[in-house]
């Protein structure tokens, strides 16, 4: 058989030094983009670094994404969230929560950090009780101004049906992305594994964040998941071999 000629470029051996140089250039350009974009925070904010992405400069995770079919319903996100915000584990105060759809699937319900933020638009107070932190994309609540349970215009406006009330104060529980380092994402990644990947992901730029999700309600998301996973029983209908026997019947 005639020996095929390899292209020159493949014949050339890449030395370790060359390889490292190539990597350095790539990292350099990433830094350059960051500098131009002006989103690299100062050193004091370095605590909000991107977790688990080696080599990236520390900057806030402005977007979050849920790979919903990976959710196992463990609710570690709720635990982490309430622990971070209140110092105690109390899932009722979590800014992200898991709901069940027909006992078939668990649906993570969370803030999609919409660019136009209908919740803020709906807030009737001046100045607004909820505001977006430009640096982190998190929504920050001013507890002194917020009208609480009697208003909840933000809840009505939320296209994702995400916002719920604090059972103690009545004020809305809204996601502030933990100031750039969402604890729910970390907790989810710690819990995940074999074979289920993490459900929650945080990203600084937002590529990979599917904006089409932003107006999906928990109920719709549940239907989607049931449809995806449980064919032919997408309705969650009970097919049980056991039948109830009431006294009247027999």
């Amino acid at each position: 058989m005639e020996e095929k000629k390899l292209p020159d470029v493949l014949k050339k051996e890449t030395s370790r030094r060359d390889f490292l140089r190539g990597t350095a250039t790539a990292a350099g350009s990433a830094l350059a983009i960051t500098a131009i974009g002006g989103i690299a925070p100062k050193k004091a904010e370095a605590q909000y670094s991107v977790q688990g992405v080696p080599g990236t400069p520390p900057y806030a995770q402005k977007y979050r994404f849920a790979e919903r079919h990976n959710c196992t319903g463990c609710r570690s996100c709720e635990f982490a969230c309430s622990l971070f915000h209140t110092g105690n584990v109390r899932p009722a105060l979590s800014r992200i929560y898991i709901t069940k759809y027909k006992d078939m699937v668990d649906v993570p319900v969370m803030c999609w950090h919409c660019d136009d933020a209908p919740c803020i638009a709906a807030c009737p107070t001046t100045p607004k009780a909820i505001q977006k932190d430009a640096k982190t994309n998190g929504i920050v609540l001013n507890e002194k101004i917020c009208l609480g349970a009697k208003c909840m215009k933000c809840q009505e406006a939320c296209p994702a049906k995400y916002i719920r009330g604090n059972p103690d104060t009545g004020q809305p529980l809204i996601c502030d992305l933990c100031g750039g380092d969402p604890q729910c994402v970390k907790a989810c990644q710690e819990q995940s594994g074999n074979p289920q990947g993490p459900c929650l992901m945080g990203r600084p730029v937002g590529i990979g964040v599917n904006m089409a999700y932003r107006s999906v309600t928990p109920e719709e998301a549940g239907k989607d998941l049931a449809n995806l996973l449980f064919y032919p029983n997408v309705e969650g209908k009970r097919v049980v071999p056991a039948k109830s026997k009431t006294k009247k019947g027999r």
Binding site: C74, G87, R90, K100, M104, G193, Q196, P232, N233, V239
Partner: protein, 563 residues
């Protein structure tokens, strides 16, 4: 009486169903330090509130659920909604007779809250089947000790719980979180943990068949069942499982949900097979059709029957028919034979409703059945202390015999393999830690890991030794409860088949559970806990564990039962 500093609210909810009232009973830090909670606290109340010979179906008998007792009996069926500080007694007459899944759905609908958690009984519990159970959130069972029957006797259909108001107090949060992280890291790095994440326990079916030689087949006749590939974890992963689900804040997501795609059960969304449900209602019945096996598991859950005991009863009945000890006329014309899913389905229904001669006979459980049938059937009646064995053949899995024979509840696979493990499991159950995560940190300094978490959580000053003293105290208190009813080493035995019949095939071919094995097990267990050769806790032991108040009870039992 000191109130606890953390980890516990220092009170239990006490519900009286007769008067439909509730109150909270304070629990002191001293008691919690001795008995922790959960199983340990239950043991404490059982030995202190009950005298010997108590019937679980008495009106003032209580059911202890996690951290609180329920007692009394109502005239009309009720269910309870427990939301924060409020307990409501609700009418359950419309739910009475409904299967567990329907009841769960009705409760969720009535509470208008998808996040409530439920625990309910099915028709089997209502009809007083002694191995009926409580089904938690539709797919999980609190089974094996007949609590479903006690609920049914009290006319209590179940309860729905939701708490939004309180966070568990922690004495030293920072230290506790650091210790919890160590515990988690220790857990998640284990291979077994990875395996349970991927396969649940269903994957053990193949493992136990090919490697371990302890899969149960056709009423423990053998451990060799090549058809396991049609019903095991591999088949489930290929054709059935669709998602992994977990309990609250657990990284192990061992619950596997799937859907049957075709056939007569098309569209059935179900959980399983787990090792026990797949073993008892699969290989133990010689099942080779996956969908029929899953349907049997689903039916047991829906009726609120213990999968394990039901599988044991069905297999025993089948073998009794095979050997001529039972005739179809004794079973309302049913002719059970291995791998006959439809007949088994009908038998399960009859058990749940105690319907006809067959239902009433089979609802008694294997021990009473074999006593009633006679004709040599005790040779293949597989139970310990009247409880049907789980899906681990103790001839192939000898260390499992500790759990079956020495465990408090008899015939139970989850009480701990080995003397130390028996104590560790008692601790895990009292701490309300899942025994999967507990089992997987064995040998890795569990005592230290647990005390490091407990101290900052509760504000205690435990040393690792205290872990062991408490474990032994709880386990010994339970033993005293049993001794008061006349239990001793003569009852700590496996079924006759395990001592008499060699395994005919498989990786443990020709193995038998010998008398030497039995002797060794007794010596090690009794020695570890400080019991005498007959398995009775000695006076010195009781004093050492602070159980002095039980010495009189033990002496009375020794006299009464000549132990």
């Amino acid at each position: 009486m000191a109130t606890p500093k953390g980890g516990n609210f220092g009170k239990v909810l006490e519900i009286d169903l007769s008067k439909q009232t509730f109150k909270t009973r304070p629990v002191s830090d001293e008691i919690l330090q001795q008995y922790i909670g959960g199983r340990g606290l239950g043991a404490y109340y059982a030995v202190t509130e009950y005298k010997a010979g108590k019937n679980a179906l008495d009106e003032d008998a209580f059911v202890f659920v996690g951290p609180g007792p329920l007692s009394g009996t109502t005239k009309k069926p009720v269910w309870l909604s427990i939301v924060n500080d409020k307990v409501e007694f609700k009418d359950a007459s419309k739910m009475w007779g409904k299967t567990t899944d329907e009841t769960h759905e009705m409760m969720v609908k009535e509470m208008k809250d998808p996040e409530i958690r439920t625990a309910v009984i099915g028709p089997a519990g209502e009809n007083g089947v002694p191995y009926s159970c409580i089904i938690v959130e539709r797919y999980r069972a609190a089974a094996r000790s007949g609590t479903g029957m006690v609920f049914g006797d009290k006319k209590l259909k179940g309860f729905a719980v939701r708490g939004t108001k309180y966070a568990v107090p922690v004495a030293d949060n920072a230290k506790f979180l650091a210790a919890a992280k160590v515990n988690k890291d220790n857990n998640v790095r284990r291979e077994a943990w990875e395996g349970i994440k991927r396969w649940g326990t269903g994957g053990l079916m193949e493992l136990k068949h090919y490697l371990h030689g302890s899969l149960i087949v056709k009423n423990y006749q053998t451990t060799w069942f090549p058809d396991v590939v049609k019903i095991g974890g591999e088949e489930a992963a290929r054709t059935f499982w669709k998602r992994h689900a977990s309990c609250t804040n657990c990284p192990t997501h061992c619950l596997k949900l799937g859907v049957i795609r075709s056939g007569k059960y098309a569209g059935m969304v179900a959980e399983g097979p787990e090792y026990e449900s797949g073993g008892l209602l699969g290989s133990n019945l010689g099942m080779t059709k996956f969908d029929e096996m899953i349907a049997l598991i689903e039916a047991c859950d829906a009726y609120g029957l213990d999968n394990i005991s039901t599988g044991g009863v069905l297999a025993f009945t089948t073998e009794a028919v095979e050997k001529g000890a039972l005739k179809p006329t004794d079973l309302d014309g049913l002719k059970p034979k291995w791998n006959d899913g439809d007949t088994y389905m009908e038998m399960i229904r009859k058990i749940a409703y105690q319907e006809g001669k067959a239902g009433k006979l089979m609802a008694k459980g294997v021990r009473k059945m074999s006593k009633e049938i006679g004709k040599g059937s005790e040779a293949y009646a597989n139970h310990t202390k009247g409880k049907e064995l789980a899906a681990h053949d103790p001839r192939g899995d000898k260390i499992r015999a500790y759990s079956y024979t020495m465990g408090t509840c008899g015939g139970d696979h989850h009480e701990g393999q080995g003397p130390q493990a028996l104590g560790m499991t008692a601790m895990a159950d009292s701490l309300c830690i899942c025994s999967f995560t507990n089992f997987l940190v064995y040998g890795a300094g569990t005592d230290k890991i647990i005390t490091d978490m407990l101290n900052p959580l509760c504000g205690w000053n435990w040393k690792p030794e205290d872990y062991w003293t408490t474990a032994k105290r709880i386990f010994t208190a339970e033993r005293v409860f049993n001794v008061r009813e006349g239990i001793s080493s003569k009852d700590d035995r496996l079924p006759i088949r395990m001592y008499k019949e060699k395994l005919p095939a498989g990786p443990r071919k020709d193995v038998i559970f010998t008398d030497a094995d039995q002797k060794d097990m007794e010596t090690k267990t009794y020695g570890f806990f400080g019991w005498d050769a007959k398995g009775i806790p000695t006076e010195a032991t009781l004093k050492a564990y602070g159980l002095d108040y039980l010495i009189a009870d033990v002496n009375a039992a020794k006299k009464k039962y000549n132990l």
